[in-house]
Symmetry: D2
Subunit: 279 residues, 4 copies
């Protein structure tokens, strides 16, 4: 007996749930938990099904599902296997530390293969926790050279996801395409407010009473990819820029780690520029 | 074409989802949203299914479902019809007002038929908003006399639910049994902390930094029925008992109204002494 | 014996607290609570002092304080007297209802003198609760005519504050100047995100996981006045525009009422385009 | 020029603020921020004053303050000097890791001198981050022997505070007295709910919709010391005991670290069995 998670997305039509559950039953699979959602705007259907059963024949099952679903259907069968990730950083420690601590104590739900930094600040800490650290400076290079080097390192590791844990370089369209749907970023702002540089200064100048952070998939459009999780926290007139940054860091790590947990448990679908999150 | 919500609870066994969805398909019903949960502790299965379709034959459908489900299965078919409620109050206005305002502007999801109070304080306000107010004092009566009078009023109205909106009398076992699963209370505390009288004074004396409120179904055990919703809010040393009560009232009305919304949308199952809430 | 609240703002300099407290002592005033803040950016000092004592001579006290403070100092002495407000509305009831309910039960901290609406939708409800309702349509008028009529009504009432409770007309610079620092608005968005029309549709299209609302003083710049309070609430992929609006209304009334409570207790200073809020 | 934080607690009487500020002025101290609170129940006055100035003579200043305040006054003058702490643990890593990470990156506001554990599980991680780890088993010892050994280690380090970061042994009255007001504990529950062992199982059995955690000073009464900070988080029917524990850990570390930050910035007074926290 074993666990299987099935993710299906396809154009919506009548009878999908019945169709799918009939096929699962014919394979002696027992449905433990099932979530589905219809995006009415895009007429798209999404389901996440957790099953138990005996399945030597996942390929046959996938084929059968595809035969009985609309043409554009995407079917993913996931047997429990830990995700592999590579983390990209610059100088700030707070998100990286949260990831590496959970990695160290086996509660991350993924396995950190490597950390890549465009500065050396975080090498010492990373290596103390037994993770290889790769330094690739962006200085005196054009972006394509820099990204080529980064890719060479990433590609050694067969990573399921790249996590930008306060990585402060903007990635090119080409880079993003190469890892489409696989790059997760933490944005130091409650998007769409305060897009771009220095959001905490912007927040301070505006006198806001709340700051927030946003975890999102990275797409071509800077700060505009599908949002996965967001949280906010209250600030007041006593907060200068420095205090806002400190409070912001606490929110950033909370938001990023929550997004990662959801992704590593295969709970997040992307639909256009939005996400569907089956919590 | 019409909307139908189906609620099913039964002992868990393999193939329930498949069984159910097959029957729905054979009745040409299209599943819009489906939520299910298996209570592993009690080996119980719960599902809420929202469908569209043509169904002159809800009775036949119900029968067919019951035939194909375990013996103890409960099946409820709900076509969109507004719930009817009676509200019981004592002297405090904050929960009642929130209910009557939403009732007035047709955003409550239910229809307030009457308000019953054991004091006269809230008559004027209730009647201003066009709702009949019934005064039944508990003074100089034993509990059974008091409750008999209350029941006589309730029973005029064919209410789906009784809402205790800061009703400060403890109801007898007999009364509770007569409306089993239909009485919702707002408890002025974050249960199970500070059970009983004067929770805000208890909270103040203990120096807590958070207070809360709990909406729950009423059962025989005072303050011990299945919890539907809870929220908390921060307090600090500046809060005396009076300020705690004021903050508590804001939480109480928020918690109660959220619980009512969930119940009126048929999203709440009771399983033993707990609830399953399909948000 | 009596209560007195003293508000002082002035350029910051050494010794202000000592100076002020010495003068209060010489008037036999006992300080119950004192809050102060120095805005380092603008070198400005703000204090709110709650005292008890006997003070037939508030004018003398004010004069003495002014003599001993920097030239630009502003000193306000407030003896407990209920604030008077006029509320402006359009069609949505949720903020108005919250205000009128608290007004009805004497827990608003202010007294609603009148409601002015540019539609008739809310007349019936307002009048049921005994508050005069004035209808001024904006149709077939230019803005200055419309505002002239509105002002004539306001000016009958000697209002301390104007509350825009989902009033959907943009006020002219001239109007705003006439009631400078006295107009409070609830903005249906977490400013500065989604400025302008249809923020919930914008939020829906962007796929945000949080929505919020902002209470602010109204200044010349639309949506850009000093922020008083903000709150957010989580949403997810199940929320369409309609559900976002419903959730948004709950946040809007919470944010507005919290702002009003702070203002009516004289806890809010404006400093440039920000507020200082002594909670 | 230098920073000085002054903490004063004493029986309340008229004129305290004036008295105190006059003395500070006579020492050429400039008040940057001042917070005060009167505990009406206990007729006690508390103030925290942040000043700048030149003060070779802190002893003289303290003496002068004491001479001019009621007899039982306590005056503490704090010049900026990092707090020293010792952390006690058992097997769970989450609170310890948060403390050691902030210690490593100098953002804790204190300096971790040592970690003492009654198991060996956390030695490896602690030493990786360069902090000495002392193992003292409680097995085959009576409590007084165990605590004697723990004290010997603590006393090597001249610690300002002992932090119980999920330390699962109950300390004796004698031990607690020796470090009176200096021991901070994180309690795995929203006190006063679910006191004692296995709170998450209790929470699960009760079907609560919220769990929380409490940081408090340790006193003789188990789980009954003055509460410093509390937070809660929502749970639902999908949470088994395991998921509640996981969610609980996130709250525990947040609550503990927030309490430590407040304590290390000298923002917390204890008054009877409550705290006054000047945020």
């Amino acid at each position: 007996m074993n666990d299987l998670t099935i993710l299906i997305s396809c154009p919506d039509q009548v009878g999908l749930v019945t169709n799918i559950t009939r096929i699962l039953a014919s394979h002696q699979l027992n449905i433990i938990a099932m979530r589905e959602f219809v995006d009415e705007q895009n007429k798209a259907f999404f389901t996440r099904i957790a099953c138990t059963g005996v399945f030597e024949e996942t390929e046959k099952l996938k084929e059968k599902l595809l035969q009985n679903l609309p043409d554009e259907a995407e079917v993913t069968l996931i047997t429990k296997k830990e995700k592999q990730i590579v983390v990209l950083v610059t100088k700030e420690y707070h998100c990286l530390a949260e990831i590496l601590i959970k990695n160290q104590f086996k509660t991350l739900g993924a396995n950190v293969k490597a950390v890549i930094g465009n500065y050396e600040e975080l090498r010492d800490f990373t290596e103390k926790l037994g993770i290889p650290y790769f330094y690739v400076t962006h200085i005196d290079k054009d972006k394509s050279q820099f990204e080529k080097q980064v890719k060479e390192i990433i590609n050694q590791f067969d990573a399921d996801y790249l996590v930008l844990a306060k990585f402060m370089r903007i990635l090119s369209s080409d880079f993003v395409k190469d890892y489409s749907g696989k790059i997760i970023n933490i944005h130091h702002s409650f998007l769409p407010a305060f897009i771009g540089a220095n959001p905490y200064r912007q927040a301070f100048e505006r006198g806001v009473k709340i700051i927030g952070a946003t975890a999102h998939f990275v797409t071509d459009n800077l700060d505009e990819g599908p949002i996965i999780t967001q949280h906010t926290t209250h600030v007041d007139h006593n907060f200068g820029v420095k205090e806002m940054i400190r409070a912001g860091k606490e929110i950033e790590k909370k938001v990023l780690l929550e997004a990662l947990e959801l992704i590593f448990e295969d709970r997040v679908f992307v639909s256009g520029n939005k996400t569907i999150v089956f919590k």
